[in-house]
Point group: C2
Chain length 572, copies 2
Amino acid sequence: MPFRAPVSDYQFLFEHVVDLQKVIETDRFAEADKDVIDAILTEAGKMCEEVMYPVQRNGDLQGAELENGVVRTSPGYAEAYGKVAEGGWISTSADPEYGGMGLPHTITTAVNEMMSASCLSLQLNPLMTQGQIEALEHHASDDIKAVYLPKLITGEWSGTMNLTEPQAGSDVGALRSKAEPNGDGSFAVTGQKIYISWGDNDFTGNVCHLVLARLPDGVPGTKGISLFIVPKFIPDENGEPGVANTLKVVSLEEKLGLHGSPTAVMQFDGATGWLVGEAHDGMRAMFTMMNNARLGVGCQGIGVAEGAYQHALAYAQDRTQGRSPIAGGTGTIIDHADVRRMLTTMKADTFAARSIAMACAVAIDMTTATGDKECKARAAFLTPIAKAFGTDTGIAVSEMGVQVHGGMGFIEETGAAQYARDVRVTAIYEGTNGIQAMDLVGRKLMDGGEAAYRLLDEIEANAEEARDTFPELAEPVWEATETLRETTEWLVSQTDMNDRFAGSVPFLKGFARVLGAHFHLRAAMGEGEYGARTKLARFYITRLLPEHGGLLAHAVRGAEDLYALSPEDLVA
Amino acid sequence: MPFRAPVSDYQFLFEHVVDLQKVIETDRFAEADKDVIDAILTEAGKMCEEVMYPVQRNGDLQGAELENGVVRTSPGYAEAYGKVAEGGWISTSADPEYGGMGLPHTITTAVNEMMSASCLSLQLNPLMTQGQIEALEHHASDDIKAVYLPKLITGEWSGTMNLTEPQAGSDVGALRSKAEPNGDGSFAVTGQKIYISWGDNDFTGNVCHLVLARLPDGVPGTKGISLFIVPKFIPDENGEPGVANTLKVVSLEEKLGLHGSPTAVMQFDGATGWLVGEAHDGMRAMFTMMNNARLGVGCQGIGVAEGAYQHALAYAQDRTQGRSPIAGGTGTIIDHADVRRMLTTMKADTFAARSIAMACAVAIDMTTATGDKECKARAAFLTPIAKAFGTDTGIAVSEMGVQVHGGMGFIEETGAAQYARDVRVTAIYEGTNGIQAMDLVGRKLMDGGEAAYRLLDEIEANAEEARDTFPELAEPVWEATETLRETTEWLVSQTDMNDRFAGSVPFLKGFARVLGAHFHLRAAMGEGEYGARTKLARFYITRLLPEHGGLLAHAVRGAEDLYALSPEDLVA
């Protein structure tokens, strides 16, 4: 059952759905013409199929282990990582000055998604490094950049993010890690960090930790937090790994999935680090990096959805069972209406989630290229939706994949369950999906809904344009958008934030449903009446879009009824 | 974090929601008065809390294993099983003539649900035995009854169901196992069966397999299948386990969850068995047993939902994180609106699913007691809904439980993930939830919708009754029921079954949403304006019931659009 990278889907999407053209027409991305992009996608796809996918099961069957303080990675991971790094796949968007390809983030997003589809555990390593590269590019001193960036970009070194502490999860401001000046420009970082993805490995020459900690004069809360780069081995005068730093992996977590990715508890004991960005301004640097990381995690969900979908589709085409209701005689289960419904739902939702993520990436690229405020607001608005809907889709699609397999889905040997277990954390890390939804109805509506309404205007304008060719699809999209507009207006008008938060997750889901319909409609417009994507759009708009009604009704109930149920009521 | 058996919830439900009174007023169940029922529920609850729950994690941490052909069960399972059997909890509804308690199936359903909540892996063993007891009570000869029933009822022996073969899953009629007459009234059964839950154990004196196989003159398909009882040890003249039969456990499956329950591949090599029921009539006997087993599996889902809910609630009340939006200062996460929304959803859906299951159980009891055709039709109609919605709820609630735990949810140590992994199979076995939905829109609407409409009439009458006290709840329930009626009419009018099947799962889910609202409304009526259950009903009806709209819109699309997407389109 080979994995087939969905290169043609990205190509279609870039041309007809999310308008990558405007990105490559900017000066900033002038070198990324269609030929370059096609070549990159094709090569990346090939690498995912031939290098990463073959080690996917290994990570599950023989996870990373801690042996005498050293992390031993899964069989084949070191070799596969070597090829990923060698191919330049860690740094497709990194600064060419330091060895990166400087391509649009949209291309990196597609590449990351394919890598996630083929081997999520291993892909998480470069994803972390990409986030670190970005944080350093934006916030580090030239000295730090010169030492770290070239080696992170080649993949010789890898990067991690150290935010969470036992008492400080979603509430980062509660962290207790400290940093004391050493007097030579460096700092002594002390504290314990948990859930550190790829906290160590046995295949990169160094592991560089970006650590949030508080300086002696840092105020309590998020405003007193600074960011430090703390390497496993302190670079010597030539920038090569030197003496070991005073930090260690205390333990690795036993997780539901993603066994190939070591999740570490890290202990820093006066470890030498250097400030990244300004003192007490660590959260800003962290947010730069986290925003794109959120999109990256969204794409992990979408990638797993693609992988799980292909896996289930292959099974459904192969598994003989019962009489075929369409062909007569013994048939494979894909002939059964409910199996067809599940597979089509999986594909339609994956396409919707992918379109949203790519639209977000395009907005990020346009912001990078033009500095345009509306583009920036668009990217910011779409990020929590891309993250939460992408990962929710990963979970829902891989769960459906298990169901398509019937009894075999519960048996680990088939690999269907691995997708569901691996992807589960994506709805939790990098800000839980609940946090994403709070961000959407809070921070992202602080403009009075301007960014939201601009997006809704575009959706309606597009639906108007589609009325002639696809009246039966354009009308429901237009109507749903109006409902979504009213819901958004209601949320914007709530001054007690808790009234917004009480319906934030259903709102985000409802918004994603409508956005997905918009992109499916654009796909139909790009492909014409008889195309496969048009049939898929019809399925989505007539069968899945109607879910927005229930979700948006839920979104406008406010907090009062919710809090009327006391904890005692909940126990009773 | 102790488990607390929801005894008071059943008591409330029996009194105010599903009318158990009419059951205990029948002659058949005259001995089961309220005091008896309360005592049974209380004792069963205590047993679940004190005997079964303490071994729940053991099954996950050290699953059943096959050692030299012998199944070794998880630590503590043998002792716990001994107490379950000793307490009579396997046979609360079994025939008193053979040692059972003869209580209403509704009580057994509640007991089974509590047992599932406390330790699903172990509970599956008595559930299988119960199914076997029932099949034998209805279909076996007096000789077989006399040998097997007393020992199954005490739990001295356990029972299994052997239906599935590698090539015959949902399509049971494709099975290849054979049975040849031995000439002495017994048969030589040969074949391989897969997915045999509790195919063997190390704590019962015998394991009795009910095996579907084909006699030499059995026609192909389901009409040529017969049912046999094939014991691990052939009973001697005193009915005690004698010589070992020619059957064995070939291997145990490596599963996503439910590790405490050994899932066996069984090999029968001319094993001695006896016919249960008439030759070639095995499917009928199997269906008797499967119908109640389906309700039993639905309750497994509900039980796990209850367990996962209590587990998440305890965590949310304990976990300090961030500023409380309602109390100010540092708060526990239950103060956060989205966590409150998740917990309330979990509780509201569990209540809805439980009510549906109990209503189904009451209908089964009324059928047993009176033979009434309408009761029988009601039970038949509710069974697939109870099974699918109960297990879907188990999956959704335990998934939310993981999410409530945040990062800790992905760490196996907390136990949140175990609920999600264990319950996953319940949507698959005993007929996948897709098969349940096909049954609902196919067989269960073959009466032209009569049973469905009778139920809808009752819901509307109840809503009418509630209009004075709860107008804002009664109206949406009434309206949703009208939409459901129209949807049902549409389905009934489809002559091509595939047009029904294409929307069967969304229809079942939509039906369950409305039924759940009905029972929540009844709970509010039973409890009055300020009760906790009334607040819960308000949450369900205003926030979750609206989902029915999207689901029912999906249900009436027919098959054409779905099949327009060819397998090639799905690959592209």
